[in-house]
Amino acid sequence: MELIWQGTKQAILLLLRGDPEVLGIALLSLQVSGTATLLSLLVGIPLGTVLALTRFPGRNFAMSLVNTGMGLPPVVVGLFVTIFLWRSGPLGLLELLYTPTAIVIAQLVIAAPIVTGLTVAAVQQLNPRLRLQLVGLGASRLQVVWLLLKEARLPLLAAVMAGFGAVISEIGAAIMVGGNIYRQTRVLTTATVLETSKGNFDMAIALSLLLLFLAFAVNWALTWIQQRGRAS
């Protein structure tokens, strides 16, 4: 208990002092996972909408893939992204391995199926006859999609939160494709592992607290937007 108490005290001091190293790591985490989440929305929302609203051969198979992808182990993603980005790999020429971009790519692969799957669920929970009604009021195909997504915005925000939550907290992919390089690819989770292994519990606790705070702050903001939509 003494360890936790001392560690927490130190951690709070570190944070209050605004330790540049800790803040730098936190900022990078936010940038990388935020970018990955945004990109996963660009992929997942259109894909999920198509899966939810259309019928085509192989749709069930595609849905199964997406649903499996929602539980993709980050380590597996890390492994395959590493292989792809490896110097002699298919995308080796891009020299992306051990850069923040590599982490963004890996986290995008983790978050995209989650956003896609939850988008499908969000759109499918709408009254199926609403679509016909919108067409019957003269909505074009794009207008229908836009209005349906607007109707589904509350569960869609849940998809955003789930996607961000998954990538900000993962470590397997970040450590494999990023390499946990000091001041380059060290993010909150990889740094926490490193500091813990070195026995720097105060630093590790500070990083963990920041991670929790970031996750909380982002989700709080999203929840606020979501629940404002429910007001009155």
């Binding site: 009254n127 016909l132 019957g136 009021l137 003269g138 074009s140 109707e151 009155s232």
Partner: protein, 372 residues
């Protein structure tokens, strides 16, 4: 364009179907060889659940394409891959559920106009007009999900009417409403339709709604339009037994014509000889259709003095079913007849199940359908 062709377009029905069939998974759900609706009419399509009425409405609203055949709008065939959007924007639909979007009443009523990028001044003018007409101006700022069922359906109707469409499609719009709400909305809609003369197609399983709103009634059963005519003609002279049953003829008696004199035919029905005013030929096989409101009941023994009706059948009350102030009384006279009797007469005549009565009706009362 030559004058004849121009004439053709001017007088073309606003909507028509040619050789239309719809199949779902190989099952034929709609089979309409031809159908025409003139501009300004209000057509009520009645039929039991699952008859294909909603499918029919979706075809007319260009919300679904037929498996076979074609839809014509103002005389021009609608190309399945053509510019459906601009044609759809000349129509508007209302369904059984209000299907409002999340937002205020105003957001909902203005939705179709916003989809059409109508300019602001016009939007606010039409909102004023139509929200007033439907009595929902006070609800303008209310959120749609706080509305009652009746209010929501008024909003849904306003949302369609505000578009001032050339064709209004209504799919069971009153089915989910409680009776007083339904009657209020029905009365308002009647006034609106009379005033605006919007071509309207109403799908309903309710005969009263069809009678209240339709200036034409089509009976659809098993995917086919069995009869389309003025309401009184459909209800009084149904073309066959299925239509007769659906429009509320409860007594349908098979018989054959024994003789004809002075425009009166003697039709033998299970031992009774009925006199029927109809042009028939002896030997012909017919169905005698009798609406309950045409049959009058008298206690046994008082008949001759009280009634000049030509047909008087003796029988016994089998059962009675109170439906509001009217009792539907079934009488067994060897054949079963159904009579509609007011509760007052039921009590005055001291009737009861098992009572012996005389059922009488005029020679002009029955409608006769020819049997093959």
């Amino acid at each position: 364009m030559d004058p004849a062709a121009r004439e053709g377009i001017l007088t073309a029905p606003i909507l028509a179907l040619e050789g239309v069939k719809v199949t779902y998974h190989g099952a034929l759900v709609l089979d309409v060889p031809s159908f025409e609706l003139q501009e300004g009419r209000t057509l009520a399509i009645i039929g039991p659940n699952g008859a294909g009425k909603s499918t029919f409405l979706r075809l007319l609203g260009l919300l679904e394409a037929p498996t076979e055949g074609r839809v014509l709008f103002r005389g021009r065939p609608v190309a399945p891959r053509g510019d459906l959007l601009s044609l759809r924007r000349r129509m508007a639909s209302v369904f059984q559920e209000p299907l409002l979007i999340d937002g205020t009443v105003k957001d909902n009523v203005s939705l179709g106009l916003r989809l059409r990028q109508t300019d602001r001044a016009e939007v606010s003018r039409r909102l004023q007009d139509w929200m007033g007409t439907l009595g929902i101006r006070d609800l303008a700022k209310r959120r749609s999900r706080t509305l009652s069922g009746g209010e929501a359906q008024r909003v849904s109707l306003a949302r369609a009417l505000v578009l001032e469409p050339e064709v209004l499609l209504l799919d069971e719009p009153f089915a989910a409403l409680d009776p007083p709400t339904r009657e209020g909305l029905l009365a308002d809609l009647k006034v609106i339709l009379c005033k605006t003369r919007i071509t309207t197609i109403l799908v309903t399983h309710d005969r009263d709604e069809a009678l209240a709103l339709g200036d034409q009634v089509a009976v659809m059963i098993d995917g086919r339009i069995l009869q389309m005519d003025a309401p009184e003609r459909v209800f009084v002279t149904p073309v066959n037994e299925v239509v007769a049953r659906f429009v509320g003829v409860e007594t349908i008696l098979p018989g054959h014509v024994r003789g004809v004199s002075d425009g009166l035919a003697d039709v033998e029905v299970q031992g009774w000889t009925l006199q029927v005013a109809a042009t028939l030929t002896p030997g012909e096989r017919v169905l005698v259709c009798l609406r309950p409101e045409e049959v009058t009941l008298f206690p046994k023994g008082t008949t001759a003095a009280l009634s000049s009706a030509r047909n008087q059948l003796h029988g016994r009350v089998v059962r009675h079913l109170p439906t509001g102030p009217i009792y539907r009384v079934t009488i067994d006279c060897g054949v079963l007849l159904v009579a509609a009797v007011t509760r007052q007469s039921w009590e005055e005549l001291d009737l009861a199940d098992g009572a012996e009565v005389v059922a009488s009706f005029k020679a002009t009362a029955p409608h006769v359908i020819h049997r093959a």
